[in-house]
């Protein structure tokens, strides 16, 4: 499966970079998509091991900027293999039928002070909803940009954890998604 390949900036994106002088890949090894939820009042963390991103972030030309993520949902990393298997199942992500979670930005708003709101659509399990991801941008010593932000997803909006698992006293409805992206300098 193409998605299972670890991310390498594709030739297309490199061409795009050359053409627009501003396209970026994401330094995937330094970036992460984590999430946090509560089970019986206990914080439970996880992350996705495999995903790819197409990020063109032009602070001076936001309309031409674009943020896209494809997340391999079966690559979920949880505390135990049992839980990982469980959440791939039909009542959770149903990764057999819906292997990919996708975020596509629709507009990016500059809030000033290196803060941005990325509005977009998040698709999981065949359901698409509007979300806004607030991010803060900063430069690190090596000239890379670090974009960090988190937003809350209500799992039941996407029918994730149906049936017995729909009980939010056991597993909370709110899932905080934490995104940390390291972007190479604009060339």
């Amino acid at each position: 499966m193409v998605l299972l390949r670890s991310f390498i900036p594709s030739l297309g994106m490199l061409l795009l970079a050359a053409g627009q002088a501003g396209a970026q890949g994401v330094l995937i090894d330094k970036s992460e998509i984590r999430f946090e939820s509560k089970q019986m009042g206990v914080n439970v963390e996880g992350r996705f091991r495999k995903w790819k991103a197409n990020v063109v972030f032009l602070p001076n030309d936001l309309p031409k900027s674009k943020v896209e993520f494809d997340i391999d949902l079966a690559s979920i990393d949880l505390a135990s293999e049992d839980s990982e298997k469980e959440v791939q199942g039909r009542v959770w992500f149903d990764t057999a039928r819906f292997p990919v979670g996708r975020f596509t930005s629709t507009s990016i708003k500059n809030l000033g002070g290196d803060k941005y709101n990325i509005a977009g659509q998040l698709s999981l399990k065949g359901i698409t909803k509007d979300v806004v991801v607030p991010i803060a941008l900063k430069k690190d010593a090596t000239g890379n940009s670090l974009a960090e932000g988190n937003f809350t997803v209500k799992r039941l909006d996407y029918k994730i954890g149906e049936g017995l698992w729909a009980d939010t006293d056991t597993v909370a409805n709110e899932v905080i998604v934490r995104v940390r992206m390291v972007l190479p300098p604009i060339t």
Partner: protein, 192 residues
């Protein structure tokens, strides 16, 4: 500190000690039963609940046992009934081990949970710090320790209960009755 005034009182445990003894006994049984039942459940909301309840029970046992020890230190147990020296010594050792396990088993559970990377949050409200960082190998060892200590406790509780019943029905002394609420009749033909 109130001292018992009547001779009868000095032979008995006081009300708080009796209440703590039976409360701890009841929730230890509940916690143990949950513990052995929950591990084989398929992953389900019930399993998550039972694990959480098991841990909450463990912390409660720890807290109540600390209270029990403090209380016992404040109001020493009534003097032992008449019995052979070896039995008195055996009872002493058993009680010492029971108290130790009631304190150590919850701690081992907390360590084990921490090692598996699952924080313990008492009653879903009060988060405990992680006792150790997540460590799979350590978790395997701690699980074994936790289980072994629990079955040791089970064996000791059986010995403890059997001894109490033997005192009541065979020796016909007041050893069991003094740990029961007032009003329970002493064994027939007892002298104590």
């Amino acid at each position: 500190m109130r001292q018992p005034t009547v001779g009868e009182e000095r032979e008995r445990y006081d009300g708080i000690a009796i209440a703590l003894h039976w409360l701890i006994a009841a929730i230890v049984v509940a916690g143990f039963t949950l513990g052995v039942s929950m591990v084989d459940l398929p992953l389900s909301p019930r399993k998550l609940q039972w694990y959480a309840w098991h841990k909450w029970i463990g912390i409660t046992v720890f807290l109540l046992s600390c209270a029990r020890l403090v209380w016992r230190w404040q109001r020493p147990a009534p003097p032992p009934a008449a019995m052979p020296e070896w039995q008195r010594r055996a009872a002493r050792v058993t009680h010492l081990l029971l108290y130790t396990l009631l304190i150590v088993i919850p701690l081992s559970g907390w360590l084990y949970s921490s090692a598996t990377g699952v924080q313990v949050v008492y009653l879903g409200l009060i988060p405990l710090p992680d006792a150790v960082p997540k460590d799979k190998a350590l978790a395997t060892v701690l699980r074994m320790v936790h289980v072994t200590l629990n079955f040791t406790l089970l064996a000791l509780v059986c010995v403890h209960a059997a001894a109490a019943l033997k005192h009541h029905f065979v020796d016909r002394d007041n050893v069991l009755v003094r740990m029961l609420p007032k009003g329970f009749p002493k064994p027939k033909g007892s002298t104590g």
